[in-house]
């Protein structure tokens, strides 16, 4: 396995200088905490919602470069999007991680750099952690709740 296949420069940029990484968010609508006990990754994701749009998305956490960089790229790709649209994009990313061609490559932004991760099955869950937290945050918001904790067993 080649390091360059897995760790594209864009991924390393997000890892070294993460976007929207913050431990708090003013007027947050939902805070979710996701962890993956198999690798010890921890992710806190907070969203602020205005008029059914993601007004702000911030993450914080600990984990490998793939999980942290993917969360960073995700926040850039989804901020400002309508909730439904963000969910649709999340599904596109998830399918990409399982080997499908992304339907919305331009909208995924830097998320497209993670295409190669699909070839490393043990790292797919790392790339998905931030996106799955986002999906859960939106679904939690839609249920009218403000917090949710999820432990990913797989």
């Amino acid at each position: 396995m080649s390091m360059e296949d897995l760790y594209q420069e864009i991924i390393l940029d997000h890892y070294r200088k993460p976007k929207h990484r913050a431990p708090e968010l003013e007027d947050e609508a939902v805070h979710v905490h996701h962890s993956n006990p198999l690798c010890g990754d921890e992710m806190d994701l907070r969203i602020r919602v205005v008029d059914d749009h993601l007004d702000a998305v911030v993450f914080d956490g600990e984990g490998c470069s793939i999980s942290q960089a993917s969360a960073s790229a995700m926040t850039v790709a989804v901020t400002g999007r309508e909730l439904k649209d963000a969910l649709d994009l999340t599904e596109d990313f998830r399918r990409m991680m399982h080997g499908d061609e992304p339907a919305r490559p331009d909208d995924l932004g830097d998320g497209i750099a993670f295409t190669g991760v699909a070839r490393f099955p043990v790292r797919v869950k790392c790339a998905l952690l931030g996106w799955m937290a986002l999906r859960d945050a939106i679904e939690t918001y839609e249920r009218g709740a403000s917090a949710h904790t999820v432990t990913h067993e797989e």
Binding site: M1, S2, M3, P37, C39, G40, D41, G63, S65, I66
Partner: protein, 411 residues
């Protein structure tokens, strides 16, 4: 006689492999060891020449297969200084631990019994007993560790003081810290506190690397696995004192483990067969016997001396890399070959990916010992572990890979 690594390596064909143009550097023997030619040959010989079932045929092939299988039992008993009638073959050490949890703890103990475990356990020697305690409504106590990664025997004495502990399960050599526990001493402590207590030990990381006498350790049951001691996957054993095995309830039922069956019940075969339901792993037993012969050829004193020396070099090599913190004893007399460490600021998965891209195989993650990792306050570590085929030539690629990871993931 000291181990001649160059000669040893000749019998491991996999070591000729290149990975993406890099020489294979295998430092993951604590997860599973590589397989030498004699083990492959023994398994192949069974399939080519003596393939048949054990314990029931009356023809030559079946007698050969039975001899192979029972010969492996004797070989393992001899290797661990135990009685062959107490050796039960299992799929692996995990199954051996579960056999004790079901055959002894769940079947023979009750809610007033107290179980003793430690925070150092692999999940295989922990979860079966946590679940058994839950099923019984019994208490389970855990021996903590000291700051240098040893079992805290003073605390253990406190946990044993009321004399209520009737079962103890603990590890011989830690798969994370490498710590070699003083099994004989803790076993004596448990039995001094309650002479009815049964002591079970997980010898997974010990049997491949140290001379082990189950008799001298004084334990009742001892779990081992073949695939970490040069043998094939799919075979392990519970090595028990026969009188302890006699008192255990059958775990899996079916063919071979019965004496007589009616439509309303069954009587049980003699030990150890009582605990081996169904056709066993015959080829794997032949492979395990060959692995034991290889290890005995080296001599377990020599295997341990080599490990001690290699682990010293490994610790020294890790000491040259900025940002590396090793968990577990630094004194090679107190530890086995599994060396866990963290590289500051870089997740072990990233470290492992960098090493893997250079042909260096290490384990990253929680090593199936989450309570221990919580004690150490880390979510994951990188673990390098050597065996008879490793020497100092394997350390330069490891160090270079760690330095490359540090540079690559620098923030």
């Amino acid at each position: 006689m000291a181990i001649d690594v160059a000669r040893v390596r000749d019998s491991f064909p996999i070591l000729d492999r290149q990975v993406d143009g890099h020489r294979l550097v295998y430092l993951d023997s604590a997860a599973t060891s590589l397989t030498p030619e004699p083990v492959l040959a023994a398994m192949e010989h069974y399939y080519h020449w003596s393939r048949s079932n054990v314990n029931r045929g009356v023809y030559a092939l079946a007698e050969e297969a039975t001899d192979l299988y029972e010969g492996a039992r004797s070989a393992l008993a001899g290797f661990l200084d135990a009685d062959p009638s107490g050796v039960v073959f299992t799929k692996n050490a995990t199954e051996a631990c579960n056999l004790v949890a079901y055959g002894h703890v769940r079947a023979r103990l009750g809610p007033t019994d107290v179980l003793l475990s430690t925070v150092m356990e692999h999940h295989a020697n922990l979860v079966p007993f946590i679940e058994a305690a839950r099923a019984l409504g019994a208490e389970i106590r855990h021996v903590p560790i000291t700051t240098d990664g040893q079992l805290d025997l003073e605390a253990a004495a406190g946990l044993l003081a009321d004399g209520r502990v009737t079962f103890a399960a603990f590890v011989h050599v830690s798969n994370v810290l490498g710590t070699i526990n003083d099994v004989a001493r803790l076993t004596r402590m448990v039995k001094d506190a309650n002479d009815r207590a049964v002591v079970h030990v997980d010898g997974t990381q010990a049997a491949p690397h140290l001379p082990v006498s189950v008799r001298d350790l004084g334990v009742d049951t001892y779990a081992v696995t073949g695939h970490k001691m040069l043998g094939p996957t799919g075979i392990g054993a519970l090595v028990a004192r026969p009188e302890v095995l006699e008192r255990m309830a059958p775990f899996l039922t079916g063919g071979d483990m019965i004496r007589d069956v009616t439509l309303t019940g069954a009587t049980w075969n003699d030990i150890p067969h009582r605990f081996e339901a169904g056709t066993p792993m015959i080829a794997e037993a032949a492979g395990l016997a060959a692995a034991i012969e290889v290890l005995r050829g080296h001599g377990m004193d020599a295997v341990r001396a080599h490990e001690r020396s290699f682990t010293g070099h490994l610790l020294d090599a890790l000491g040259t890399v900025a940002g590396v913190t090793v968990h577990g004893p630094k004194d090679v007399d107190l530890r086995g070959g599994a060396v866990s460490f963290v590289l500051e600021g870089i997740h072990p998965h990233d470290v492992g990916a960098m090493l893997g891209s250079r042909g260096v195989c290490v384990r990253v993650g929680h090593h199936c010992a989450k309570p221990l990792l919580r004690c150490l306050d880390v979510s994951a570590t990188t673990r390098a572990s050597g065996y008879v085929y490793n020497d100092r030539d394997d350390l330069e690629p490891l160090v270079d890979g760690l330095e490359a990871a540090a540079a690559f993931f620098a923030r």
